[in-house]
Structure formats: C-alpha cells, structure tokens
Symmetry: C2
Subunit: 332 residues, 2 copies
C-alpha cells in the first residue's frame, strides 16, 4: 500500500501527481467559478453575492482520525460548514489545507477526501483550493484545516438572546465527545459521533423565523456554548435537565468515566434561542429534517446576572459552569 513521502509535500511533480491522481478523483464538488480546483492555479474563484459574506476556519487534529461515525475529513467539512450555518450563512466554497506525517497511507487520504466530498455534495458547496505539506508531526497523523465562506441568508449572532426566548437543541447531546473518548480508551461500545452538516435544520428554522441566536456546541459542549451565549447576550439561561436529549449509551459511559456529557463536543448540533411565539413552528420545522429529528426545547431565557442554571431532575437548581476546556483531548 503506498504511503505519503516527504516529496509529496514539496511542491513538485510528486505532489502534483498525488493531487491529480489520488485526491481529485475522489472529489466531485471542485468549483463552479471561472477558476476551479481542476485548474490547479494559485487559488480559485467563487461567486460572490451582494453585501457581506461570512468566513470561518477550523483546524482538526482529532485522535483517532478515523472514528465510529466519521473521520477527520467529514469532521473538517461539517465542522466548518456548521460554523457558517450558525452565523446564518449557506456554505458556498471551501479551502482545505493538509499537513500529514510521512508514512500516512495514501488510501486513508483518499477516504478523507471522499468524506469531504460527501458533506460538500449534501450542501451543494465546493472545495476550490488546497495545500499539502508533509512533516514529522509526532502524535498527530494528519491536520485538516478547512476554511469556508458562506452567503448570508440571515445574519444570526451568538449574542442575540432576549428574555423570554426559548432554548432549542437540535438533537442529542454528547455523542461526538463520548464516541471519541470511547475510541481513545479502546472501549467497545455502540457509540457513534453525530458529525454531520446542520445547514438543513438551520435553514428550516430560518425560514420559519424568530431565531435570535445560534451556536454549534463543539469544544466545551452544550455547557460551553450556553455560557458564551448567556455572557455575550447579558442574560440568564435556565435549562431543565430532564428535557436535554441524551442517548442512554452516552449517559452510561459518561457516568462510568466521570465525564459530564454537557461539556463534551457535539459535531452535528445547534443550540438556538427562539422567540416564544415562534418556537412551536420552529421546532416542527427542525424536526422535519433528518439532522434535527430529535430537537427539543430545553429551557428559557430570563433577565438576571448572566449565567446558566439547570433545574435538576430531583427538583433543585444548580449553576452550569463554563468549562475551562473540553474534558476530551484532541476531540476535534
């Protein structure tokens, strides 16, 4: 099986053949501008639109790079698309830079590109430019950095919560982080990452209207995202523990390992604030999409010192702290 060599990252003939013969054939969404990825020029073009566009980027060093439910390519494409989505922007074009260690199997690189292509095809967006470097990257087999630009459908900020808004989560919480942790620990479980693009659910919600704020609860999990939204919006969020959808396997494993499922990363979820008079319709719209079928209303926004409180299943109230960091190392 052929492996990545140093020269594959050295800008010459060997790199060109890697890109042309191994990567491009696994990609169908290669651009639609007057310069596309096929041109292998210094960059490529994307159709711009009236007014502003959104840009976002994430580097991915997830360990292991192939995990139950996905791989670093799917994660990179979905992760970046989802940061565009929660800004209210439809993904248009992506750039993908790879840093890979010598000896990485080229077949694995192809799988990564097929997964990227799967996400792009679902979104109707294109990978138009990239870069490839090879180094001795120690514990990190591959770094996939995906940057995206998107067309604003309706600009939504993470600071827009208002008292009275309902808090909606588009599905179960903790799946990605617990699946990665299980894989890292070598545990044999049925857990799968939730990694998926969320645009369809977001778009359905935006079409109904009344969405005041959105965030994708990645590193730091739901607890991190809610704390940021509360802080930035200057409001208190009160969530009800029993309404938060958590898979039974996630609950069991998180108790076993002593990890809070609200603090681990999700990679196919959105948490949003919705005007109370719109929330039923928004929930229906989100639930009508595959990625949002388990959506729930989990809380409400109140006036008060910015923080997140949780009404527990036994009837008490406790503060949901902002995590110092995600408890799972190299979760994305």
């Amino acid at each position: 099986m052929s492996k990545v060599r140093r020269e594959h990252g050295a800008g010459g003939e060997l790199m060109e053949s890697l890109i042309k013969e191994e990567l491009l054939p696994n990609l169908t969404m290669r651009g639609e501008g007057s310069v596309t990825l096929d041109d292998l020029d210094d960059g490529a073009t994307f159709p711009s639109v009236d007014g502003e566009m959104v840009m976002t980027t994430d580097a991915h060093i997830v360990d292991p790079p192939f995990f139950p439910g996905g791989n670093v390519g799917k994660l990179a494409a979905a992760g970046t698309a989802n940061d565009l989505a929660v800004m209210g922007a439809k993904p248009v074009a992506f750039a993908c830079s790879i840093v890979v260690r010598e000896g990485f199997p080229i077949d694995d690189l192809k799988r990564v590109y097929r997964s990227i292509d799967g996400v792009l095809s679902e979104l109707g967006a294109h990978l138009i430019t990239g870069d490839t470097k090879v180094g001795n990257t120690g514990d990190v087999d591959i770094v996939v950095t995906m940057t995206g630009v998107g067309e604003i459908v309706e600009l939504v900020r993470d600071c827009g919560l208002r008292p009275g808004d309902k808090i909606v989560i588009t599905g179960t919480v903790g799946d990605h982080g617990m699946a990665i942790l299980a894989a890292q620990q070598g545990l044999d479980t049925d857990l799968e990452s939730d990694v998926a693009p969320v645009w369809e659910a977001v778009n359905a919600a935006l079409e109904v209207g009344g969405v005041t704020s959105m965030k994708d609860p990645t590193r730091g999990g739901l607890a991190g995202a809610l704390n940021e939204m509360a802080e930035k919006s200057g409001v208190r969020i009160v969530i009800e523990e029993e309404r938060i959808p958590i898979r039974e396997e996630v609950r069991v494993l998180s108790e076993m390992l002593g990890v809070n499922p609200l603090e681990v990363a999700n990679e196919g979820k959105v948490v949003m604030g919705v005007r109370p008079d719109m929330v039923d319709d928004v929930l229906d719209a989100i639930r009508s999409t595959e990625v949002g079928k388990n959506a729930e209303v989990i809380g409400v926004v109140e006036e008060g010192t910015p923080r997140v409180e949780m009404e527990t299943e036994v009837g008490g109230r406790r503060i949901v702290e902002k995590p110092v960091g995600d408890p799972v190392p190299r979760v994305c």
Copy 2:
C-alpha cells in the same frame, strides 16, 4: 515565561483568555464587517464585491519557525496574500488556524501575531477569524494555516503565456530557500529570506497592463513555476542565465551545498509574462515599488514543445527540468 498548555486548545475559558489577552492585543487589523474578530463569534463577515472573488490557502510548517528575515507568521500572511496577488486579486480578509505543540512559548505566539499584523497593515486587509488547537506535534512546533479571500482587480491565470511575451521576475531568486537551508544547517551567513507581500508590485504592473500570466515561485522555485506556466500555456520559455538576478551570497552558498538556486522557494517574488510592447513600462512600474526594485526581464516565450530552456552564461542551451520537489525540507 508562560507556555502553551493543552487546555489552551480545548475551547474553554483558558483558550478564550489566550486569544483575548495574548493574541488580539497584537493585532490591529481585526475586521471591518458587521461581525469582526473582536466579536469572537463562530465566524465573521467581510464585504463582498460584485462578481467573483478569489480564495487561496497555505499551511506553513517552516523549520525553524523564526528565521533570518521573518517567521512563520509573516510567511503565512505574505504567502497567502501572494497567491491572491498572482491571481490578480487584492487581499481583503484572512482566516488563521494555529496548531501548536504543548510548551511553545506564548511570547513567540505573540511575535507571530505581530508579524501577521505587519503584513495585514501593509495590505489594508484583515484577519477576521481563527482557530487554535494544541497537540504533541513532534518535530513541528507550530502549523500556521492562512486562508485568504481577495477582490479581483484583473483575473490573471498561470496558463496565459503567449509566444512573444517577455518573462519578468520581480527580484532576486533563491533568497528564502537558501536562508532557510543555511539556518537548518546552522551556518553563519548574512542571508535573509525575501518574505514579503508582493501586492504593491503586482498592482503597479496591472495598472500599466499587458500582464498575461503570473505565479509566485514558492516551493520548487523559479524552475518549478516556469515549467508549470509553460506546460499549462502550451508554450516554450527561454530564459537567459546571466539575466537572472541572484545575490552573491545565495550563489556562493548554493554552490557550496550543491543546491540549485532556481529550484528553491522564494516568498516575496512574482514571475510574470508581459506583452512585449508593454514590458518596458511594466518593468518601470514594478521597479518603482520597494518589493520590485530589482525586477528584471529574464526571458521570452516562444512557440514549441512546452518546456523551459536556458541560454547559459557560456553560450549553450540546456533544459531547466521541473523539480520533483523542493530540495529544502520544510521550507515553508
């Protein structure tokens, strides 16, 4: 001196304080859209324009990350800006993803950001979004991936050469690659990298007109860039050895180390094709800029089998081969 810890890349409070307190204060160009880097939202906005825009990306793993004439931050900002420039696009907005090893000095991270800011200030472009991950990245201290979008002033391809065009290089050849190689070998030289944004020189040339093709001769050097342009344009390029500007120190070191200065990376140069009737004016315009002051006409485009030939100083002709890769490892 404080160092990067794992939690600095874990998406929580510690990461937020690293970004807010250490990185942002070293950046002045933080966006001008309705969402900027200061908002620390999931992404940020940039003003789009009519028609298409250009996007490009490069990951940088240069060894050493601080080298004579620059560092990985300056390299990343200039490198990405230069790929936009050679497409004929003025840089508008950038995204910067960092992967850094545990233990990396935070002061060095600040220096990297100050250098990025220097390039952005010169260009009037903004860093609007980023990402930070921490891992045990072996030999690689830091990966800086910079992605940029630019407004097209005049779309210029790398396949546009036509017989009769003159070949212009905007300055001396081999400086970056030989400076990095000298640093890697622990040699005590006066060599400095040429790393710099080239937009000013490119813009000056575009204002005159007659530019048919451009490329930045990075990995694979001038030999690589010319071969690609010849291949893609379906033409022969003939260059004159004695007209290629090469610093004496670069010449001496390249002979000493047996490395061809035409095959190593440049990071502040452009090679372009120019219509013969315009070349004098284009050359004057380029030379009037600081980054282009040593520009020269080094050859001509002919009909014929696509390849690059060189008339040597002793009067012969030889083929300039397309490099398999750049002879200097981790040159950028």
